[in-house]
């Protein structure tokens, strides 16, 4: 914080035009992580085109208006963008004080889903109808508050300089904080979100510097737990089928196997350059279910081909790469942990979502960040971008 800082502090320089000030060396705009922002915007816009392509013919869900989903997707993106600006404006440190309230609110919303207010979509009881055709999926927000809550607990002693690493008590508290909403989400049952949360927990713990014993202990417990769940038939049959059918579509040819097959056909038929936007016969013929949300990547695969699908993966890579940098560059453990949590979240959710359309991951109901249609998801990921930006903006400039 040398030259530029003093320049600003002096305040006696000539009055400069607004846009110049905005881009001054130490200004907020200069400090923002532009690659992440541009990549996120690009993903959202690509998403809107894909969502439009997938829904313009689906008269049974678009209320006869081919632009119904396109407009809503853009609206969601706009709201998400505003949420990001708000988050940056407040700053992640300010938000730190509000974390208990946010956490409490999100858990309350998740609980609300279990009441008669909640609705079921595709076998998962994860939504709250709020009238006007809008609905909330609180598990999306829980992902953010788990990251924030855990990071706050784990980093508070370290950032204060009291300890080098979080102690066991803190880790137990943090885990408890995560497990409560995870159990509730498990009851919905929204297995995909639980998996994402588990990965988030792991990422946050890793970044917080918690003891190796915790990390490997949790990994081991997760493995044993998964085997137990499988052996003790705790999961519903449809969930087991979903897990098995991605590898062997014949296991459930009319159900999950059908999704997997049609998704793979759609993507596979795209070739290098795809059939052209709005030209995909699999998409036009609506052979892939849930194509505007969970299977949105198949639209890109079929209509834009390897180049389009690769571009989406590349853009997600940019976001993740920058997020990793932000985690590495942050001077405080809180910021590092939050950024790492977000990386774990985005990375796993993207991998799971695209992976299931490519037939290498089991089919779960997870949206592709920025691209899939869905308000709650869109708001959550943009808030996450805001958090990343805030961490980036508030680190020392030299870093």
């Amino acid at each position: 914080m040398t030259g530029a800082n003093s320049f600003q502090v002096s305040g006696y320089g000539p009055e400069r035009a607004g846009w110049t000030r905005l881009f001054a060396r130490d200004s907020l705009a200069r400090r923002l992580d532009w690659p992440i922002l541009l990549a996120a915007i690009a993903l959202s816009l690509i998403g809107s085109v894909l969502v439009y392509s997938a829904t313009r013919n689906r008269t049974e869900i678009n209320q006869g208006d081919p632009y119904y989903f396109l407009i809503r997707h853009l609206l969601n993106t706009g709201i998400g963008f505003a949420l990001m600006i708000g988050t940056v404006w407040l700053g992640h440190r300010t938000l730190r004080t509000a974390v208990p309230i946010l956490y409490g609110a999100s858990v309350f919303l998740v609980l609300l889903v279990l009441t008669p207010l909640g609705t079921t979509v595709n076998g998962a009881h994860s939504w709250i109808q709020i009238g006007g055709g809008f609905s909330l999926q609180p598990s999306e927000f829980v992902k953010v508050t788990i990251i924030l809550g855990m990071a706050m607990l784990l980093a508070v002693r370290v950032d204060a300089g009291d300890r080098q690493h979080p102690d066991h008590r803190t880790v137990v508290q943090a885990l408890g904080l995560a497990i409560v909403p995870m159990l509730i989400v498990m009851l919905m049952p929204d297995l995909g979100s639980v998996m994402v949360m588990a990965v988030i927990v792991l990422g946050v713990l890793l970044a917080s510097g918690a003891s190796n014993r915790w990390v490997f202990g949790l990994l081991g417990a997760g493995t044993i737990g998964a085997i137990a769940v499988w052996q003790l038939h705790i999961l519903d049959d449809y969930q087991i089928n979903r897990f098995a059918a991605f590898a062997n579509p014949d296991l459930d040819p009319a159900g999950v196997g059908y999704n997997t097959n049609q998704a793979r056909i759609a993507i596979g038929s795209g070739g290098l350059t795809g059939s052209g936007l709005f030209q995909g016969s699999q998409t036009t013929g609506q052979f892939v279910p849930e194509q505007q949300t969970d299977f949105v990547f198949t639209v890109a695969g079929e209509e834009l081909g390897f180049l389009g699908g690769g571009l989406i993966i590349l853009l997600l890579g940019v976001v993740l790469w920058r997020a990793c940098r932000i985690a590495l560059d942050s001077t405080e453990l809180y910021g590092t942990t939050v950024a790492a949590g977000i990386v774990a979240w985005f990375a796993f959710q993207s991998f799971e979502n695209i992976g299931m359309t490519l037939g290498i991951m089991p089919v779960t109901g997870l949206p592709l960040p920025f691209v899939s249609y869905g308000g709650s998801s869109m708001f959550a990921v943009w808030v996450a971008v805001g958090l990343l930006q805030s961490i980036r903006v508030q680190r020392p400039l030299s870093a």
Binding site: G268, S269, Q282, F306, C324, A347, A399
Partner: protein
């Protein structure tokens, strides 16, 4: 532990962040790699799968071509029925899934709404019949018996009946013009099987589930040509089967018409006369078995002698080919295929085989000439011929003294052929021949085309059998175990035969060759084979592949591909011997065994030279088979009646009547051209206009009965009647009386 200076972080955290970074990167690389694998490496396979996903075919049936007789009279054509169908794709677009429309439709058709709904629902495991098991994109027929009034109601109020069509559709009909049903020659159709459906699925011309496929006769032989090519419209559909676009389509091509050489009128006469002859035979007493003749089956073939084209082919018992139309009932099917009805589906002209009896003697005569016996030589026609204690009798033990081969044919002298065959058998080395026997008699049979198919354009022709050494060996090997088991030296007739067969059934015994020389024993021939042979004798020696199909004419009449007569060989007879044989066979008709059917009863031999040979074949345990083989310059007619009696006796009148009909010969031998159905073979093809209509002459209700009626009153026809001139018969007594006797009376005579 030193912390990282810039961030104040412990190395543990730093390391872990890098691990996270690497993990994230590897996940992304995995996705990229998998994407490359699916889209670039395997892309083509998936593209193919995708295109199969969303295209549905709708097949429009092609109208089956007609089968016409030589003058264009349809023997099999299509009848138009009004079919009301519903399009599911259209119905499902409606709010109530078309229930309202179907209910309204039921009202118009006078059906129950439930009945109509059941017809359009799709079959699946839970849905019992009635239901539609075809393609859901295919219009589903609700009724094929709509009245024009109902069809009009539906069409005029099209807006009230969206998705409903009332259109005329073609259904096969066997018209039986002039009562000629031609059943076995035409064959029949039956629904396509699942296997055929599956096989033709991806071919040029896929079947419909409702399609009919030719199963026998011409319908089968020319199925491909008659069937045409179904039209295919390809629709792009979405996952719910809703049509979202139309891909390329091929229009249906109607099937070609098959012009046959059959003349419906002659066919009718042949069928009628065959049936009458069998009825008459059943009234006759068989002195050998002491019961009436059974006359259980019979066949007649009328062939153009110079081309091998079949003008008429009748087989009895017969059936109504319309029984197959619209699906045969189980009862009808049982009746058609049962033993009780004696298998009317069999076309006995090509699938019935029997020992030929004396009509085989033309083969033996040719063999003898080939073997070096002079046609004009003198051969003793004794009343019997004995070989090693076994006595072979002449028919009814007649003795004609020394005669030449021609006379032997005329009077059908068995003993002459016995001698010839026996001396050849001895020359060949007797029971244990050394070296390669000449086997003239057997060789000749093969050269005459026996023992193999004639190649007629009808499916499932049988070969008959020439019982030569090779066959004997095979037959013996197949049966010796059974023979040796049942055979007894001193048992009854069957046991003794089995005993002998066990010992030397593989050897050519003298008795075998002697029996064979007069067409008895193990020899089997089909009527079509004998017709081919006698036609060849008539035309100077060319064995033609018999044909029923004469030309294939496209539906619009523009493309005509004629089926040219093809030969499968020449008779192994010198020109001179053939002429002598021809003369001898004429002698049969004028003064030999068939004279009482022709020359003696007013046949105008000088105008229409008739040649004939009679045959009466003995079958162990059965009554004799009647054979009658005849020819003129233009036609050869062969008739046979199983268990029907003698050749000229049972079959003679019928064959004479067919000739009368062909040439317009009256009972008194006058020729009335007006009554002649086909004095020379039909040369030109019928005209088929571009709109598909066919120029065909009117055909009377029953040419057979008319022909009979015209013969009854020859005196009424005045100027146009020319009286037969000299008839080469020792005409004694009243010719008319004899004629009547000949036509109506049946008496045994030598054959």
């Amino acid at each position: 532990m030193t912390n990282i200076p810039e961030t104040g972080r412990t190395p543990r955290v730093q390391t872990r962040l890098i691990v996270i970074q690497v993990l994230v990167l590897s996940l992304l690389v995995t996705l990229g790699g998998r994407l490359w694998y699916l889209q670039i490496r395997e892309g083509e396979a998936y593209a193919k799968e995708a295109s199969g996903n969303h295209v549905q075919q709708v097949v429009q049936p092609a109208v089956r071509g007609s089968i016409l007789d030589a003058r264009g009279v349809p023997l099999a054509d299509n009848e138009t029925r009004l079919v009301v169908s519903a399009s599911r794709t259209e119905l499902l677009k409606m709010k109530d899934d078309g229930q309202g429309v179907l209910t309204k439709l039921a009202g118009v058709l006078g059906m129950q709404p439930k009945e109509v709904m059941e017809k359009v629902r799709l079959c699946d495991a839970q849905t019992p019949q009635p239901c539609w098991n075809g393609s859901p994109y295919q219009p589903i027929p609700i009724t094929d018996e709509a009245t024009p009034r109902q069809a009009l109601q539906i069409r005029e109020r099209a807006e009230d009946f969206p998705g409903i069509t009332a259109e005329p559709q073609a259904v096969r009909r066997y018209a039986s013009p002039g009562e000629a049903n031609t059943a076995q020659v035409l064959g029949y159709l039956s629904p396509v099987t699942d296997d055929e459906l599956q096989q033709a699925k991806d071919s040029e011309s896929p079947y419909l589930r409702s399609d009919q496929v030719g199963r026998s006769g011409l319908e089968r032989q020319y199925d491909k040509e008659l069937r045409g090519k179904a039209g295919v419209t390809r629709y792009e559909v979405d996952n719910l089967g809703r049509v979202i676009g139309q891909a390329e389509s091929d229009a249906a091509e109607p099937g070609s018409n098959l012009v046959t050489s059959i003349d419906a009128r002659v066919q009718r006469v042949a069928e009628y006369e065959l049936n009458e002859a069998m009825k008459a035979a059943r009234k006759e007493w068989d002195r050998n078995t002491n019961e009436r003749y059974k006359a259980d089956s019979g066949a007649v073939v009328v062939m153009e002698a110079k081309t091998g084209r079949v003008v008429a082919m009748a087989s009895n018992p017969t059936y109504d080919p319309n029984a197959w139309v619209g699906g045969i009932s189980a009862k009808d099917y049982a009746a058609l295929t049962g033993k009780k009805s004696n298998y009317p589906l069999l076309n006995r002209a090509i699938q019935g085989q029997a020992a030929p009896g004396s009509i085989f003697k033309v083969v033996s005569t040719a063999a003898a000439v080939q073997a070096g016996y002079a046609f004009d030589g003198r051969y003793n026609c004794s009343s019997s011929y004995s070989v090693g204690g076994q006595v072979f009798k002449n028919f009814e033990s007649q003795n004609h003294g020394p005669i030449d081969l021609g006379r032997a044919l005329e009077v059908s002298c068995d003993t002459v052929y016995y001698q010839l065959a026996h001396s050849e058998w001895k020359k060949d080395g007797g029971i244990n021949p050394k070296g390669k026997p000449k086997d003239w008699f057997y060789k000749a049979a093969h050269q005459f085309g026996l023992g193999k198919e004639t190649g007629i354009d009808l499916p499932n022709e049988v070969t008959g059998r020439v019982p030569d050494r090779q066959w004997k060996q095979q037959y013996w090997e197949a049966n010796k175990d059974a023979w040796c088991k049942t055979g007894k030296k001193d048992g009854d007739y069957v046991e003794r035969i089995a005993y002998e067969n066990c010992l030397e059934g593989n050897k050519m015994r003298a008795g075998d060759e002697i029996n064979y020389s007069i067409g008895q024993g193990d020899t089997l021939v089909t009527p079509i084979q004998m017709a081919t042979i006698y036609a060849a004798i008539a035309n100077g020696g060319t064995l033609y592949d018999p044909t029923v199909g004469k030309a294939i004419v496209s539906a619009d009449g523009k493309q005509v591909s004629e089926i040219a007569p093809e030969s499968h060989g020449k008779l192994p007879v010198s020109r001179q011997a053939l002429a002598q044989m021809d003369k001898a066979l004429e002698g049969v008709a004028t003064r030999g065994t068939a004279a009482w059917r022709f020359a003696d009863v007013g046949w105008p031999q000088d105008k229409i030279p008739m040649h004939a040979k009679t045959g009466t074949a003995e079958v162990y345990g059965k009554q004799t088979t009647s054979w009658f083989a005849t020819y003129t310059d233009d036609y050869a007619i062969v008739m046979t009646i199983s268990q029907g009696g003698t050749g000229s006796g049972a079959s003679g009148p019928a064959v004479r009547n067919i000739y009368d009909a062909l040439y317009g010969v009256s009972d008194d031998g006058t020729i009335n051209k007006k009554n002649a159905l086909l004095p020379t073979p039909q040369k030109s093809l019928p005209k088929i206009r571009t709109d598909g209509s066919i120029t065909a002459p009117k055909i009377s209700k029953d040419p057979a009965k008319e022909q009979q009626a015209s013969q009854k009153a020859p005196e009424d026809a005045d100027g146009q009647v020319e009286t037969a001139a000299t008839v080469q018969t020792p005409a004694t007594g009243n010719r008319d009386t004899r004629r009547r006797q000949g036509r109506r009376g049946r008496r045994r005579m030598l054959t």
